[in-house]
């Protein structure tokens, strides 16, 4: 079957995007649009007492000012999760369009609608907002303490969620004589996705329905949320998702679509647009959860694990968004990655007065891997084993099955990936060579593995729908509810369609835009699920289309269906391989037949009741300049087993992007907050240190291709995994270079300075 799958075909959108023709949300917005600008709170916690709008309304060009006193008191959830018809599994609805009770610096209190951007900005500046201030809390553990400022009444001690895992008897097991105790606390930062295109959307009414065009990953979910927020029947909401300039999970949330739609409704359904500035993206969209993790391991001198304890404290910020799911995912990886008979795990997700944390590439795993994989190297030092030896001995064995998800490790993935990385970076030789260095400049190599799984079954719905429509020339259009967000799924899907239907790749036309009025239902881009999940409905729909085509071929050629095949766009008689007619001739005949005209289409929904592990590792080589408190990343290699590669070039690009994110996470990125006011200190691309090309070595991606047996295409997650293990690999390389065990990321020069002073490597 495979003619297209497995080849590095050129992206289907490459020309449009490279020439600037591809149209994004703002390109599609009419010039007559009114502009919405949001007035954000300038306190971290409190109540809006009054808003004086007189001066704002007097600004020439201002059309309307809407405040929190007029916004409906209808709380809605924003997380980009499939809806659950079971109320106990529904997302927490704690968000309003505009807020009287403001819970973070940057919360929405009013919106100004004006004829242009300048007037709207002037209007916002002219608003006089009076607050009643309340004490606020930024730290996750302080927020859990009795007496801490309370953000949402119904969540005592600000605890939004708690879950645990218990295996064996931790307390008894840790008393075994001769055990070595290794304990650590690991901190990860608040970071932002920093997609190139800030979130923006525009809304208007058409024939009594609300249309919203948005830069989102999840159009069908946003439709539901807009309906919920505005109290409209969901069928009266239409969401259109054009090309988007990245999302990384930030746009796996309803962001400002509900507010924009409400603003349109308040001005008689006129076209209004709302575009976030970069500063708003940092302060008032979503961020990655900062998670503090505490790990205790009791290890036998032979390097086996006797008992382990894990506690994680996740900083949710002011609103639930994706909530506890993120922290829970990280915790659940812990007992699986290094199985140990006696384990106690607890995870808490806690409201604080920071921007709401939501989904971000890796969904709790980069945090869990930074803590877990740093801790493994700390264990290695304590018991005198090499990082490689310990991992080979303790990592999840082949044949391991997770009882909940039914995921199985079918292949010796970890060893195969590590072997590839070891060879690529010359790890064994360098690890030994770098052991006993002295002097100001030292080198080191480090390794970290990661755990990941694909999609969300059995926690949430997994289904995918696909539609295919055949054209007169034998080409076809196809649509899915899964969305292209820059990762390349339009191309991968086109390859899958070509092979499954039996037509040349060039005959496949993807409908890239999702429009909830016409696109089959699908929940969108998240959980690294697109290629895996989409593959099911593409295969199923292709088989249905083939069946229709071959039945028509029977009508047209008199041959029985059992003797017919569709190969490379030709109807072939199987018995002698003769081409009977082209698919184009068949389709034309069928459509224009005076006897039996048929429009040839297929549409199906696939039920997906499986999930798949997707594992791999990172290797890093660093050069640490101790007096300058700087690290230079010399080499970085990621190795992934994501099953069979659909498009090797796109897979490599996906890995490069994730590695870049991991480098920033490990070394430079952190959104900081003023302890005195709760204000973000560096919410812009100058002060927030997103890493640049100049901070990267040549990024090296390698793959182990063990086909995933549950996938029709043998494929599984690759979207998020590349961002998961880079930061701890860098941290462990620094440990190898200097002997200094860093307990937080990003490992900035400030952290190095403090740690090197403590270690006596530099004079204070």
């Amino acid at each position: 079957m495979s003619k297209s799958v497995g080849r590095s075909v050129t992206r289907v959108d490459a020309r449009e995007k490279a020439t600037g023709r591809a149209r994004y949300t703002d390109d599609l917005c009419g010039r007559e649009a009114l502009v919405v600008k949001i007035c954000h709170s300038t306190i971290a916690h409190g109540f809006v007492k009054s808003i004086d709008t007189a001066l704002a309304e007097a600004v020439p060009g201002v059309v309307k000012v809407l405040t929190c006193f007029e916004a409906p008191d209808v709380p809605f959830p924003t997380a980009g999760h499939p809806w659950s018809t079971d109320p106990s599994h529904q997302d927490v609805a704690d968000r309003l369009l505009l807020n009287r009770h403001v819970r973070y610096y940057g919360d929405e209190v009013a919106a100004v609608i004006a004829e242009d951007e300048v007037a709207a900005a002037q209007g916002v500046r002219a608003l006089k907002v009076e607050y009643e201030e309340l004490p606020f809390v930024l730290d996750v553990q302080e927020a859990m303490a009795d007496g801490a400022p309370q953000l949402h009444e119904e969540y005592k001690n600000n605890i939004l969620g708690h879950s645990d895992v218990r295996r064996g008897d931790y307390e008894a097991a840790r008393r075994e004589p001769g055990l070595i105790k290794v304990e650590g606390w690991y901190d990860t930062p608040t970071v932002q996705h920093c997609h190139i295109e800030n979130h923006g959307c525009f809304a208007y009414e058409e024939a009594g329905r609300m249309v919203v065009v948005s830069s989102t990953q999840i159009p069908h979910i946003v439709r539901r949320v807009v309906g919920q927020a505005l109290g409209m029947p969901w069928g009266k909401v239409r969401i259109i998702k054009p090309y988007i300039g990245g999302g990384f999970g930030n746009k796996q949330d309803a962001l400002y679509e509900p507010l924009c739609a409400w603003c349109s409704a308040q001005v008689g359904g006129r076209l209004v647009k709302l575009e976030c500035s970069r500063e708003e993206t940092f302060a008032s969209n979503r961020v990655r959860h900062a998670i503090r993790t505490h790990i205790i391991s009791y290890v036998r001198p032979d390097g086996t694990l006797a008992a382990r304890k894990f506690e994680s404290f996740s900083n949710q910020g002011a609103y639930a968004s994706h909530g506890h799911g993120v922290n829970a995912k990280g915790m659940n990886a812990f007992p699986q990655l290094y199985p140990c008979p006696n384990v106690e795990c607890d995870s808490w997700t806690v409201y604080t007065n920071r921007p709401a944390a939501g989904a971000m590439r890796g969904y709790g795993i980069p945090q869990a891997m930074f803590a877990g994989e740093s801790h493994i190297d700390d264990i290695c030092r304590a018991v005198g084993m090499t990082p490689l030896e310990f991992r080979r001995k303790n990592l999840m064995p082949v044949g391991y099955v997770d009882g909940f998800s039914k995921n199985e490790l079918y292949h010796d993935t970890f060893n195969q990936c590590m072997d590839k990385g070891i060879e690529a970076i010359d790890y064994l030789r360098k690890y030994e060579a770098y052991k006993n260095q002295t002097g100001p400049i030292r080198r080191g190599v480090g390794l970290a593995v990661f755990w990941y799984n694909t999609a969300v079954w059995p926690i949430s719905l997994e289904s995918s729908s696909c539609r295919m429509v055949l054209n007169q020339d034998g080409s076809l259009q196809f649509q899915t509810g899964e969305t292209e967000i820059g990762q390349g799924c339009d191309t991968a899907y086109s390859q899958m369609v070509a092979d499954a239907v039996g037509i040349p790749f060039e005959h496949v036309h993807v409908v890239s835009t999702q429009d909830t009025d016409v696109t089959p239902f699908g929940t969108g881009a998240y959980a690294s699920r697109q290629t895996y999940i989409g593959g099911f409905s593409i295969m199923q729909t292709a088989l249905a289309l083939r069946e229709r085509i071959l039945n028509i071929a029977h009508e047209q050629t008199r041959m029985p269906v059992s003797n017919l095949d569709l190969v490379d766009g030709q109807i072939v008689r199987k018995s002698d391989g003769r081409v009977l007619k082209s698919l184009g001739d068949l389709a034309t005949e069928s459509l224009y037949s005076l006897e039996h005209s048929q429009h040839i289409t297929a549409e199906t929904t696939a039920q997906i009741k499986s999930n798949a592990y997707s594992f791999g590792c990172s290797f890093a080589e660093v050069e640490v300049d101790i007096p300058m408190c700087k690290v230079k990343l010399l080499r970085m290699v990621n190795v992934h087993d994501c099953g069979r590669l659909i498009n090797p070039a796109l897979a490599e690009a996906q890995v490069h992007g994730g590695m870049s994110m991991a480098i920033g996470y490990g070394l430079s990125e952190e959104l900081k907050f003023d302890e005195k006011t709760g204000k973000p200190l560096n919410g812009n691309l100058l002060d927030y240190k997103l890493s640049t090309f100049m901070d990267h070595p040549t990024l090296e991606a390698a793959f182990v291709e063990n086909p995933e047996p549950t996938s029709p295409y043998g494929t599984k997650a690759l979207g998020e995994p590349p961002a998961c293990s880079g930061a701890p690999a860098i941290r462990n390389a620094v440990l190898n270079a200097t002997g200094v065990a860093i307990d937080c990321c990003p490992i900035t020069p400030h952290v190095f300075y403090r740690k090197f002073c403590e270690a006596g490597l530099i004079e204070e």
Binding site: Q122, M628, F693
Partner: protein, 293 residues
């Protein structure tokens, strides 16, 4: 879309002076890489602007009869870096401004704007201080020249008087002759960043390359404005070239600098980096000058 009240386009330096007098509240705009950003942030929203962007008469690098190097205020960073006179006589300045922002910013950003901004972190500023640059201002009374150290009044404020515009940066011959320098930009990433600390050192060695005749060092972000470290300079002058001298020179900079504690960097960290940077920049300068270490 910028919130701009008015834009006046100057046709010559003389015309710019007339416009400055007619619109004393107006902001001068050259490359726009700072002014437009500030307008977007709302800090200069509703501003009147006087654009001097098209005044080619103050663009470019030239040598005056007395050997003074003249850098027109509108000369962009990328032109400074690639200019043969700069490369020959004050190469370190070209290297320093090549670390501003990214390529696009270096194509539009000007050395005049960089200095008139009055910020301590400007990549050109520490080197211009270390090379005793002279700022040339043109106003209603004609041309006024002023040492750069006096041009900087306080953070964000420089000595530009009524009706004046900055027209050139001058480097006197005595300042650059036989001098070799090195700049270390200490930042949190390798591009698109502002300096956490900027260190510019230059030395003039004796003919036999064994003695330091003169050493100069200036820092950005070690105080509210760029500043020189006089104690270190005095300590090194006339001393034999050695690694020990580099160490003593570096430690002495602490006598003169006063970095502050901020969320961007702690004071003790900045002091530590200042000493290490001074040491490395001194050693590098000596090597460039032909000294052996």
């Amino acid at each position: 879309m910028y919130d701009m009240k008015a834009l006046y386009q100057a046709k010559s330096v003389e015309d710019a002076v007339v416009l400055r007098l007619a619109h004393p509240e107006a902001q001068i705009i050259a490359g726009g890489s700072d002014v437009l950003v500030q307008m977007r942030e709302g800090r200069r929203a509703g501003a009147e602007l006087i654009s001097i962007q098209t005044l080619d008469e103050i663009r470019g690098v030239s040598m005056e009869d007395d050997g003074t190097l003249r850098i027109g205020s509108l000369t962009s960073f990328s032109h400074i870096t690639r200019d043969p006179l700069i490369q020959k006589y004050i190469r370190v300045l070209g290297e320093a401004v090549d670390q501003v922002g990214g390529p696009q910013i270096r194509n539009i950003g000007t050395i005049g704007g960089n200095t008139c901004n009055g910020v301590t972190s400007a990549d050109s500023a520490s080197t211009l201080h270390a090379w005793d640059a002279i700022v040339e201002l043109t106003g209603p009374q004609g041309v006024r020249r002023q040492p750069i150290a006096e041009f900087y009044i306080k953070a964000g404020q420089v000595d530009i008087r009524e009706g004046e515009i900055q027209t050139a940066i001058l480097i006197p011959r005595e300042s650059y002759e036989n001098c070799f320098g090195h700049y270390i930009k200490y930042a949190m990433r390798n591009a698109m960043d502002i300096a956490t600390l900027g260190t510019s050192v230059n030395v003039r060695l004796s003919a036999d390359k064994k003695t330091v005749e003169r050493a100069r060092v200036a820092f950005g972000v070690a105080g509210p404005v760029p500043l020189r470290a006089a104690h270190a300079e005095a300590l090194a002058a006339g001393q034999p070239v050695s690694l020990d001298l580099a160490d003593r020179f570096a430690r002495a900079v602490k006598e003169d600098i006063n970095p502050r504690d901020s969320w961007r960097a702690a004071k003790d960290f900045r002091l530590h980096i200042a000493v290490e940077s001074a040491r490395r920049a001194f050693i590098e300068s000596v090597k460039l000058a032909g000294g052996a270490l």
